[in-house]
């Protein structure tokens, strides 16, 4: 198992430790996850899958909670930015 994984956040490559979540990748990329109803940038809050602030599109599937998904090589993560 490689010790680092490369995936892309909004088209840019990000390296995360193996076993890390997509939320970690987005934070390392310096991105927010989504825009709120009034346009505020939002990122993970609860870290355990219940607040839904971290929802992003992963490999084409929208509304995935980034904090609950392990990063995989080549994953395409799109935030709302």
């Amino acid at each position: 198992m490689p010790s680092q994984i490369s995936l892309t956040v909004d088209g840019s490559p990000v390296l995360i430790p193996s076993g890390a979540t997509v939320a970690v990748a987005i934070t390392l990329a310096g991105q927010a996850c989504r825009k709120s109803v009034t346009g505020e940038p939002r990122g993970p809050l609860c870290g355990m899958g219940i607040c839904f602030e971290c929802r992003v599109t992963i490999n084409g599937t929208p509304h995935r909670r980034a904090c609950q998904v392990f990063g995989e090589p080549g994953m395409d993560v799109r935030t709302e930015e």
Binding site: I16, P17, C46, C51, F52, C67
Partner: protein, 412 residues
């Protein structure tokens, strides 16, 4: 996990359904899944051949004995004879100006991120809120190389002193406390202290805290802030279990008021991981038909219960925390509902109908406990789906075919 192991030992067929990607809840996450306790339980569990369904969240019960769970690509229909609910707890969040800035997270929430691989070496993290979790989080972050400018505990020094004296009845906790003290030695720890506001352009850059009654601004990369824990009782409520004082009512054998449904751990009282393990085992033995084995664990459980009331009392929220919001401060993050729009409503239900507060994806899990404290509302009944679910899965429930579509739906 403990419940599953003991139930399996009784010879019954057992399945575990967990929303998280791996078992172990919030405590046994990341490298903490490798501690001696966690590893022992996990290995024992794996040896039992229990069916494990991770990444699956239960969203409805169409009829008695049947649960519907959604996972990434699939709908699972789960039939059971006995059900043990171990839905855990979540952090309580209180709003204050700037709390919606990215990099403001829960205390346990931030720890979960770090356990899930977020590097924090050299980063400045302020830890704030209330509860023993703050110290555990601070100690953990320090081990990972974070700088902690300050820990802000809203409880008073007097409350905490009473707490530490009362811990004399719980020697294991004293050992834990002393270890924690060593691990966070040198980190400023302020009592009667809480966040006033968070600042930053797009991400958090600094926070202002109240300390000795005066504001103090601290630069930081992250704020790990949570106000103790609230039980996850949504599924028990949906299933008709009686709730008492905000917790699921259970008898000696962890039986709820619904035939065939048991509940163990934090939903019955917030007492920590050791208690949860004991209660889980009691429920497992009871559901597996060996109540005499369950009874052997009653004494251990009693200790945990006493700790729970001590925690509740020590970390009770002080009234000043009701006044942190400005009129524009958002209270419901899912629907962006501001404090001034909520203040005038007399109940949770009225506010929900008029403002959509509580109707978003989190279904009031974040704003519910906050408004309960701020406005003394009582969030009422729970309606399915208790988690956002795909339209196609809800249609399957109705027994109809629907075009494939993905949506987030809230209940009402």
């Amino acid at each position: 996990m403990a419940a599953a192991v003991r139930a399996a030992e009784c010879g019954v067929g057992v399945g575990i359904v967990d929303d998280n990607a791996t078992l172990g809840g919030q405590i046994w996450r990341g490298e903490l899944a490798e501690t001696k306790d966690a590893t022992t339980w996990r290995k024992t569990l794996q040896a039992t051949g229990v069916t494990m369904l991770c990444g699956s969240r239960v969203f409805d019960q169409p009829r008695a004995g049947v649960l519907l769970a959604e996972c990434e690509d699939d709908l699972r229909v789960l039939r059971y004879r006995n059900l043990i609910l171990a839905t855990g707890a979540r952090e309580r969040f209180l709003p204050f100006p700037g709390w919606t800035l990215p990099n403001v997270m829960g205390a346990g929430g931030f720890q979960a991120m770090v356990k899930s691989g977020l590097p924090v070496h050299g980063k400045h993290v302020v830890v704030a809120g209330t509860g023993p979790l703050l110290l555990a989080v601070a100690a953990y972050l320090r081990k990972k190389g974070a700088e902690i400018p300050i820990i802000c505990e809203q409880a008073s020094l007097r409350s905490l002193t009473r707490f530490t004296t009362a811990l004399l009845g719980h020697p294991q906790k004293i050992v834990q406390a002393l270890r924690l003290k060593k691990e966070i030695g040198g980190v400023p720890f302020a009592t009667s202290s809480w966040p006033l506001s968070a600042h930053g352009q797009k991400f958090l850059e600094s926070i202002t805290i109240s300390r000795h009654g005066r504001p103090q601004t601290v630069a930081c990369d992250y704020l790990a802030c949570g106000f103790h824990l609230v039980p996850n009782i949504e599924l028990p409520v949906l299933l008709g279990c009686q709730i008492r004082g905000g917790y699921v009512q259970v008898d000696d054998l962890q039986r709820t008021t619904v035939e065939g449904i048991f509940c163990a751990g934090e939903p019955t009282s917030i007492s920590g991981v050791e208690s949860s393990l004991v209660e889980g085992q009691i429920a497992g033995f009871a559901a597996g038909g060996r109540p005499e084995e369950a009874r052997k664990l009653f004494a251990a459980r009693e200790k945990g219960r006493r700790l729970a009331s001590l925690l509740d009392e020590t970390f009770r929220l002080r009234p000043e925390l009701r006044n942190l919001s400005s009129p524009e401060t958002l209270v419901c993050r899912c629907e962006d509902v501001a404090h001034s729009h909520l203040q005038k409503h007399v109940s949770w239900r009225a506010a929900k109908l008029q403002t959509r507060c509580g109707m978003g994806p989190c279904q009031g899990r974040i704003c519910g406990p906050a408004t309960q404290f701020l406005f003394r509302w009582n969030p009422e009944s729970v309606r399915p789906p208790i988690f956002p679910a795909r339209v196609e899965n809800l249609a399957a429930l109705a027994g109809q075919q629907d075009p494939q579509s993905t949506a987030i739906l809230g209940g009402s």
